[in-house]
Amino acid sequence: MSDETSRASQPSNRASQSSGRALAGAVRYLLKNMGTSTLWYLVIFTGVLVALQPLVTLLSKPDAESTQIALAIVAVNSNNIFLLVMGIVYPLMLELYMMFGVTRRQFARALLVAGAALSVALAVVSGVVAWATASLDALALAGVLASNLLCFLLGWLAVSGFQLRRVLAAAGGILAAIVMASLASMPFASKMPSEILQHADWLPNWLRFVQEPAASLVCMLVMAALLALVLPLLMRQAKLKC
């Protein structure tokens, strides 16, 4: 921008460039931000695991293999919980991002992209942990990925009611999240973790709630898809406190 001519008449694609920049910028910044949080989490988590491992080995059955499986399960669950927390915290930053010219829809999209990226990243981490302890199962990994993503979205669902500023919606949001979480593990709720540990032939399927991995995977993916459609719409109704 160097002369007066660009001031008088605006080329029509300039504004879409700038709005596109807002979205891309939001995604990049979100990823950076979430990435930093994730790194901290991984560092602390690994540190805690490494510190606790000898203790766990001491207290539980002196079966190295089952300890490793238990650790793998802990890793996966911990990742799920981490993503759940991220899903709870980040959508609440809507107003902050809107201050920088990002629309609700753009922010929702950015969250979906960042959440998906994070799910993949942590699934990879889980895969690495699993590789170290048991044989890799593509389906199991897909299940891990799906459960990661679903946890993120469930956290988001839980807070979206609060963003609507209606008590009923808030309660409904949390309820819906709990219901969906149960549904995700329902086909396999009867299986207790201890049983998984005891049955060595289920080694490839070391996810706690996966017995028939295909069904669970489909169930989780359907729910995730549903949420990915609904949550941006809910965000559009979010009330701001400016």
Binding site: M1, S2, E4, Q10, A26, R28, L96, M99, G101
Partner: protein, 267 residues
């Protein structure tokens, strides 16, 4: 219709070029806008119709709860009107990516909000990512001028420094529509003068439409080309400032005489 981009001038007399072409749509247009908050009988804005041309520096005056912040929130697409329509450069801004990226809304964020936990450095980084015309060099220079520590989280800054951060975010964004909602609240008199100075100089170099709400009327009234007065959600007055002054009254006195309610006294 797209808003014009603020661009630098080499012309020693750029002010003449500030007036928008005749056919340009008004930067701000409210058509019979009503805004009602839930569970409140009285509407925050009641049948407001306003038209503000491009590149105007308009002062928004009103007593507390007159509807100033509500109006600004509507323009920034933070809220939707209950009735009537809002138009920026002829478009509805709500959920419009083009409109929102061209509007900078500067207001006092909540203490419990996420903005308080960010450091100025982070806020500037966010702006650099998301604001298309963000000038980081300008922002850094302003941060030095206002003595803002960049690495302390904003909740731990003094009120004046927080205000400075807000104002810098507004100024350096160079958005074609910049809205200041008492952005300088908390700044001492010297910093207020610095802010006004920087605002005017940047406005001169990069003309844009500015809406500026204030309670310090006599201090700020010289900034404005036009003044918009709101009272209890309605437009009391909207006119060119010098036209108002030609009647022999300062803007502050005019404002007080118009908005003083029966039973209140002004010593």
């Amino acid at each position: 219709m797209q808003p014009p981009a603020p661009s630098p001038h080499g012309d020693p007399d750029p002010t003449g070029a500030m007036a928008p072409p005749e056919s340009a749509p008004p930067a701000i247009e409210l058509i019979d806008v009503t805004l009602r908050y839930p569970r409140q009988k009285k509407p925050a804005l009641d049948g407001v119709s306003v038209s503000i041309p491009q590149n105007a520096l308009c002062g928004l005056l009103g007593r507390n709860a007159a509807g100033k912040t509500s109006l600004m929130a509507l323009l920034a697409a933070f809220r939707r009107p209950t009735a009537g329509s809002v138009r920026l450069w002829g478009q509805d801004p709500f959920e419009s990516p083009q409109a929102m990226s061209e509007v900078a809304f500067v207001y006092q964020w909540r203490e419990e909000g996420f903005a308080s936990y960010c450091k100025p450095r982070e806020l500037f980084a966010m702006a650099a990512h998301m604001r298309p015309r963000w000038d980081n060099a300008f922002a850094t220079r302003l941060a030095e001028r206002f003595d803002v520590p960049m690495r302390k989280s904003t909740s731990r800054l003094s009120k004046g420094q927080q205000a400075a951060v807000r104002c810098i975010l507004g100024l350096a964004a160079r958005a074609p529509l910049t809205i200041f909602d008492e952005a300088y609240l908390g700044m001492d008199a010297v910093y207020r003068k610095v802010f006004v100075d920087e605002l005017l100089q940047d406005y001169l170099k990069y003309p844009r439409t500015i809406l500026f709400s204030t309670h310090y009327i006599s201090e700020m009234e010289r900034l404005f080309t036009e003044a918009l007065m709101l009272d209890e959600g309605r437009v009391l007055l909207h006119d060119d400032c010098d036209v108002l002054r030609a009647k022999g009254m300062a803007l502050q006195d005019l404002f007080i005489s118009l908005t003083l309610k029966e039973g209140e006294s002004y010593e």
